[in-house]
């Protein structure tokens, strides 16, 4: 791969993860269990959209075909998305949403630190900025895992079920094909104390499901894109 092609591939993964999870979280807007959570999830969503627009801009520039961030977000089909499967999983209940956020934000924080320290100036300055935002997302998700784990029998059961469902998508985050394998020990060290504090067992290991990084997505992504892309596709001349 040429340098430009590699930069495109890297930026598109970072951008797609942020974009798809941002879209998922925005589905909670107006539906969260409490006003404060509604605000929090919408704010996290907004941060992720901001990161996505920066990463996709860099991807478009590296590609050199004149596509900007909006073109990449709204005029690509499911097969061309390179997000991990974890972020496209449906919100489910609040326990499942928090489980996904917990696993993702703790990983994204480490990834952004790594990208922020890497020599590519295009990606590293975005990553250093985004890292500050994601540190907040991590604290939010970690606190909620503890609160739900220690909460009622129901909150605990739902969180366990959410973690159990989401756990199968964890291996893909550390897919050696995209160079993130080295982050796993740090990630494990970061999430272990949260499990203990929440009084939760780690989910049972299971065979990992992957494919998102090569465009093999679950059916959920198509539905998500249909909603997200409808307006710009139906009205191509619409402006913000």
């Amino acid at each position: 791969m040429t340098d430009k092609a590699e930069l495109f591939a890297h930026a598109i993964r970072l951008g797609d993860d942020a974009l798809i999870l941002g879209q998922r979280l925005s589905e909670w807007c107006g539906h969260a269990p409490m006003l404060e959570i509604d605000l929090a999830l919408s704010n996290i969503s907004l941060d992720l959209f901001g990161q996505a627009s920066q990463f996709l801009r860099v991807a478009g520039e590296a590609e050199g075909l004149g596509r900007d961030a909006d073109d990449l977000a709204f005029r690509r089909d499911a097969l061309d998305f390179r997000n991990c499967l974890l972020v496209e999983q449906p919100n489910g209940d609040f326990g499942q949403t928090i489980a996904r956020q917990f696993l993702f934000s703790n990983w994204q924080l480490l990834l952004l630190r790594e990208v922020g320290a890497a020599p590519s100036p295009e990606l590293s300055q975005i990553a250093r900025k985004a890292e500050k935002e994601v540190a907040y997302h991590c604290r939010f998700a970690n606190e909620w895992i503890v609160r739900l784990g220690e909460g009622t029998a129901e909150s605990r059961a739902r969180t366990i079920a959410g973690l159990d469902w989401m756990w199968r998508f964890v291996d893909e985050l550390f897919d050696p094909d995209v160079g993130a394998a080295s982050l796993r020990p740090q990630w494990e060290a970061q999430i272990s104390p949260v499990f203990s504090e929440a009084g939760l067992d780690r989910p049972k290991p299971r065979r990992g499901t992957k494919g998102g990084r090569v465009g093999h997505h679950s059916e959920h992504l198509g539905h998500l894109l249909a909603e997200m892309q409808f307006l710009p596709r139906a009205y191509p001349d619409a402006t913000w």
Binding site: A40, N43, F49, G50, Q125, I126, R128, K129, K132, Y136
Partner: protein, 153 residues
Amino acid sequence: MVSAERAGASLSERVFEILSRVPDPEIPCLSVVDLGIVREVKNGAVVITPTYTGCPATIAIEKSIRAALDAEGLSSLRIETALSPPWTTDWISVEGMEKLKAYGIAPPLRAALACPRCGSTNVEEISRFGSTPCKALHRCLDCREPFDRFKCH
């Protein structure tokens, strides 16, 4: 060369003076200069930086800066965005911190978090996220007023 430098310095002073009258759309007690969004004037461009990457006010801010520059006959100045070094609350001016407090928003000082109304430090966080990306919700346990705090970032 010397006079070109001087011309550059006076242009920069003029731009900062103009932009110190452009309010932030979400926190209008602060100007975009107080907030630390305006970095410098360099090579025919005003360099600005976003607070949060996804802050929806970023576009509105750029538009109002453009309008203010145009109104002063500075249409030839471009606006450029720089992400590095990333913006933090340390970029807010001392004056800006005071303005925030007077406006009823606890400023992002790491030392003492106090209720902007009664000054009590007996306060609690209600939500880490607030009405805009840059604020968190708190409540004063003495005067019972809820208030926003500009997050330390």
